[in-house]
């Protein structure tokens, strides 16, 4: 759950009184934009990407204008622009107009959790406005601090002094930056990044730090972010419809994590356990529709609901339903298999029989009861299956599932369909 840009970031900064550049949303009228240009002399136009998208400036996705005509042109160019990073491409939905902040100094600042220091850290440099990874280490200061007491003024001043930052920026930053800890700590953030903070001359020439971009990530397991009353559409692009449906079942009893691997995949694998999830998804590659972890001993009702959602979204296109996990330590196999088998029966009832091959690899408490329940259900539905014990290597079972998938593509699906409709 990530949030970028000042449109919402500016609102969050207001909670702790941290100054941010003046920003108008996509709904801004021509007169509003004109007034913004007049007030600041220059306006930045940035596309709105939901979720976390960085490096916009690098890819030419920031407009910089001084008149309304150019502003409207840039608005048109960037309103629905796309941004590609690695394998994912996102489309913007609107633009923001941000008043330029004249400044002689740009500062980078972030708070995040560090697995190196195993505590919260502040990262700061007065060489901001660029990608932090591009700076040499001696120009950046990473400061771990005690989360029980939080980020303190001395952390900031010590760091800036060690960096030999210009004296005039130290005091305003020492005064303002510790407030960001409140935002970070009180609203369930795992990352908060302001880059750049521009040091704008204020009254009497004293510099004022003004946030000119905003990025943060929230912890899905911390409900504190809900207190911010952010509209749900901000995070909508983070989750597909399928993932959102599953997420509604997110409780502490049992895992229910899913991620779409390939929406054209042909093997749907409800996976049990984080390790099994990592390994099975790795081997299946793009054959997999989803990656999932349903371990943690989910109760019947939750597993049944999860299965209903998974089947509804993915079974129609699948050749193989692949239920896989190691030898469970605590997950009740009878309960989870009964829940899945009942959901499968329900699916066939609602959507009609589907030509699939079911492959299972599992171990754990109540194993045989669970396997036999599943076997009986599959028999009744007329679905071919292979059910392997936990003494079969999980990776071999995955390989078998992939071979069956190939056969299904070649002829199996057709043969099973003919059998089901006979």
């Amino acid at each position: 759950m990530q949030l970028t840009g000042l449109l919402w970031g500016g609102k969050l900064l207001k909670y702790v009184g941290f100054p941010a550049a003046e920003v108008l949303g996509p709904e801004a009228s021509v007169d509003d934009i004109k007034a913004l240009i007049e007030k600041h002399g220059e306006v930045f136009i940035k596309p709105i990407f939901k979720g976390g998208v960085g490096k916009k400036g690098k890819t030419g996705l920031i407009g910089r204008v001084k008149d309304i005509e150019s502003a409207l042109k840039e608005k048109e160019r960037l309103y629905f622009t796309t941004h590609t990073s690695g394998s994912s491409t996102v489309k913007s939905d609107g633009v923001t107009f941000e008043g330029a902040v004249p400044a002689g100094h740009e500062v980078y600042f972030s708070i995040t959790e560090s697995t190196v220091y195993r505590t919260t850290t502040m990262t700061i440099t007065h060489h901001g406005g660029v990608e932090i990874e591009e700076l040499p280490e001696d120009k950046i200061k990473v400061v771990p601090f005690d989360p029980l007491t939080g980020l303190k003024s001395f952390h900031v001043s010590n760091a800036l002094e060690e960096l030999k930052a210009p004296a005039e920026i130290i005091s305003p930053l020492v005064q303002n930056l510790p407030r960001l800890w409140d935002l970070y700590n009180n609203y369930g953030m795992t990352t908060l990044e302001l880059n750049p903070i521009r040091m704008m001359p204020g009254k009497g020439g004293r510099l004022v730090p003004v946030a000119c971009d905003f990025k943060c990530a929230f912890d899905i397991d911390d409900t504190a972010w809900k207190r911010l009353n952010l509209p749900s559409h901000i995070f909508a692009s983070d989750y597909s419809e399928f993932e959102q449906e599953i997420n509604q079942l997110r409780t502490y009893q049992g895992q229910s994590d899913v991620f779409i691997i390939n929406d054209q995949g042909t093997i749907t694998a409800p996976t049990f356990g984080g390790g099994a999830n990592a390994m099975v998804t790795e081997i299946l590659g793009d054959y997999a529709t989803i990656s999932s972890d349903f371990g943690g001993n989910p109760p019947y009702v939750k597993m049944n609901q999860i299965s209903e959602i998974v089947f509804k979204h993915w079974l129609d296109q699948s050749n193989v339903l692949f239920i896989i996990g190691g030898k469970a330590n605590n997950t009740d196999i009878y309960e989870t298999f009964r829940a899945m088998a009942d959901a499968l029966r329900g699916y066939f009832h609602t959507y009609g029989p589907k030509p699939i091959f079911v492959i299972i690899g599992r171990g754990g408490p109540n194993l045989i009861r669970g396997m036999s329940y599943m076997r009986d259900t599959l028999d009744a539905l007329g679905i071919p299956c292979r059910i392997f014990g936990h003494d079969s290597a999980m990776s071999e079972v995955v390989n078998y599932a992939m071979k069956v998938n190939e056969w299904m593509i070649k002829e199996g699906k057709k043969l099973i369909r003919a059998k089901l409709t006979k």
Binding site: D219, D222, A276, N329, I387, F388, D391
Partner: protein, 907 residues
Amino acid sequence: MHKQGVEKFPYYVGIRSLSEVATREDRVCVLNILGTESSSVTPVSHEFSGGNVVFGTGPGKSGQILETKLGSIPVYNSVKEGMNAGHKINTAVIYLPPAGVKDGVAEVVRDNPDLKKVVILTEKVSVKDSRTIRAICQTNGVDVFGANCLGVADAWNQVRIGGALGGSKPQESLVKGSVAIYSNSGNFTTTIAVYLITSGWGTTTSISSGKDVYIHFAPGEFFYVLDNDERSRAAVIYVEPGGYYEHGLEINKPTVACIVGRWKARLTKACGHAGSLAGSGDDAAAKEKWFMDYFDVDDIYTPENPVFSKKGAVVTNIAYIPEALTRVMEANGIESDFEPQGDLSLKCWFANNQGLSLPPELDIPVVEAVTPYNEQIEKVNRQIGAQFPREALKDASGASMMDPKTQVTKVHNVSILDASKYSLEENLVFSLTKEHPDEYRRGLANIAFNSYVNLHGDSILTASDASREGGNSPNTVLSSAISIIGKGRVKRAIDAASVLLDLFQYQKIMDSTADFDYKEVLQETIRSSDKDKLLVPERDGFAEKMVRAIDELDRKSIFIEFCKDLARKEERFLSADTILAATWLTIGWSSLMRKKISRTTILSLPWYSMIFSAHIGCSVPSEWHSKTSFCGEDLDDFIENRSFTETAFLALIGHRPAEVELFEFTVLLGLIISNGPGTISAQGSKGAVSADGPEQPERVQLNKAFVGFLTHTGFAHGGNGYEAIEFLLERFKDNGLKDPGDPNHGIDLKGIAAKYSQWYLNYKNREKAAGNLEYRKIPCVGHPVFKGKAVNIDPREEFVSKLLEERDSYNIFLDFYRHLVQALFETGATRNVFCVNVDAVIAVILLKAVWNLYREGELTEKDIENAAFTTFLFGRMIGCAAEIDDHINRGRNMDTRTPASKCSFVG
């Protein structure tokens, strides 16, 4: 700020050797000990560890206990209360919900200065709470394992602390050896241990670290304590992407590192382990490189490319761990701990090809599972028939459902449109066995049904006659009759079926007509009480008549032939009950073996059969039943040669159906099988089952369930089909129509339709002008779903019409309806061309069947109304049988009632 522990670390680490991670001396307190997971896991841990759990907590649960085989564990409201009771602990296990974990840790740290270790099982602990927990424990000198882990275990010490490492049988996985395990995955901790056994390696200490963002006891600490543990000669570490915990390690003992999750570089949010969300520097590829550098190897180990050094090997598949470890240890001159046990090849425990021929490489055979699973599998394989989970079935059904879009109901997943292509007897069999019968079994069903249609001399007829004479509707008349077919009447048949089932259930017969040698069964010691249930001392002419008819069929039933041979062997005779039982066992066997139906259902089939027969038999008065005939037809011929559909037609119309008539009648019955579980008739039958208590299925009175169906039909539900007939009679009774099936009838349908439409338009306008919006609607025209287009079509009517057209079956009444909807539009009575709905199809088929009798004065309008209603009952009997059987098998006692809170008073 942290307490000083092991000097090497810039933070607190208290444990110096792996052997200290889980010891027999540790004394444990479990927070939320009575929670669902803890209460099942803790006793096993406690017993395995020799009783290491001193007490548990649960707010408000002081005084309660958790039973274990080593005695009960006391429960207190709080840690403080437990400490005040004199208990001493050094380890806390946290099973609290995520929001309570931080406070739980704070509580146990504050109230117990002797605390050294905390094991947190809980998943989804927030990052904020994790960092706070770390800060608290660092300040107070406490080692933390987890969160989101499965705890720690030691095979040497026979101790496990925290979660369920090794499940309910930890001794199976935690076998003493020389390898230490550290795993980000709880499940893989013991899966790796089990895999290692196949190469002869046992374990020392196993640590499930969890894979949240915060890992408190990380690989750095693990390799440090490994060095100080003399028992451990090697290590296996399973890690996933995300975090720098594996960076800069100092590894001094042979180690196999398994790194899985290259694909996780694609993740934009956590899936599975929360801490597996990696950046560019800590992804799986980076971690592979770190470990390759530690081991001085330049590639990943695979069986095909076994790259390893004395220091170790890197694998990306846990299945390669045993082999890689063995190779590394060989390089160090170290032999395995014990002889390899088992292997990791594919072992299929259950399989079904569903009759398909799979390629040999995929057709993996079933092998015997390892003990104790093989014994368990044998036990479950001896269970026959389906076992359905029970649930409240109010307004729900496992038998039928209506698609709100198409308005087509499906019964056992077959649409009523498709079902209408099957005969009455086929659909009746289908309703209970969930399979339409083949020709042989259809023949058997006809014999079974027709044998019990004639009820000459039976008190049932007296009851139905009396009811009929009392002026009751057809459903009420049938209710009186069906009430009498209680369990007592069919007990002998059910007993016989039960004996046969017991004798044959484990013979692995899938097809009841297969070539099966039952000699051994015949020679088995069959209890004399069971023989008495199958055989009678005196010749039974009725039974012989049935057997004669069955012998005429082209195949042989194992069960019927067995009964015949048994009778010969015992020099006794078969009863009709036994033949009925063997017949239905033959029909339902494959459904039972394929677990489509339950044992309860197959044993009830003779009862259902008699009830179905009585529905038809009692629909005509007693004078139509005689010793030798039914409805004037010879009884022997009847049993041997007629289908049950023909019988139903005969009872309804009074003559044998011609081929076209039979076809149309079949379609008609098929269309009215079901309208889903919400219909009143279905609700009536389900309510009757629910009231008897399906959780004890033997107590449910099937006949009463059918009475429930019958009494929940009436002039408005079932009897309303007559409205359309009445409408058509008005249009056609005086125009000299001779044969409704003749397309050259010479009647001006368009003209009649136009004339009526004009009249209807005037009538409608008149009524509307007078403020009456409840004006009479034309029956069977229009539908609330199939509307709004320029020309509307009810797909069900379209389907049946096509079916009739394919058979060159013309129906003037249906033709008229088509003209009528067009004329209504043309005259402006309707705003578009309304559909002719499926109810019209039902009416026109029936009217066509009775037209001549009506024209000749043999049937009155009242008779036709009764016939329409009775036809509905015959068809709906099929669907309700499915509902009744479904509710018996799946429903709960009294599950159809409505809670008082949901009822309203409208007085």
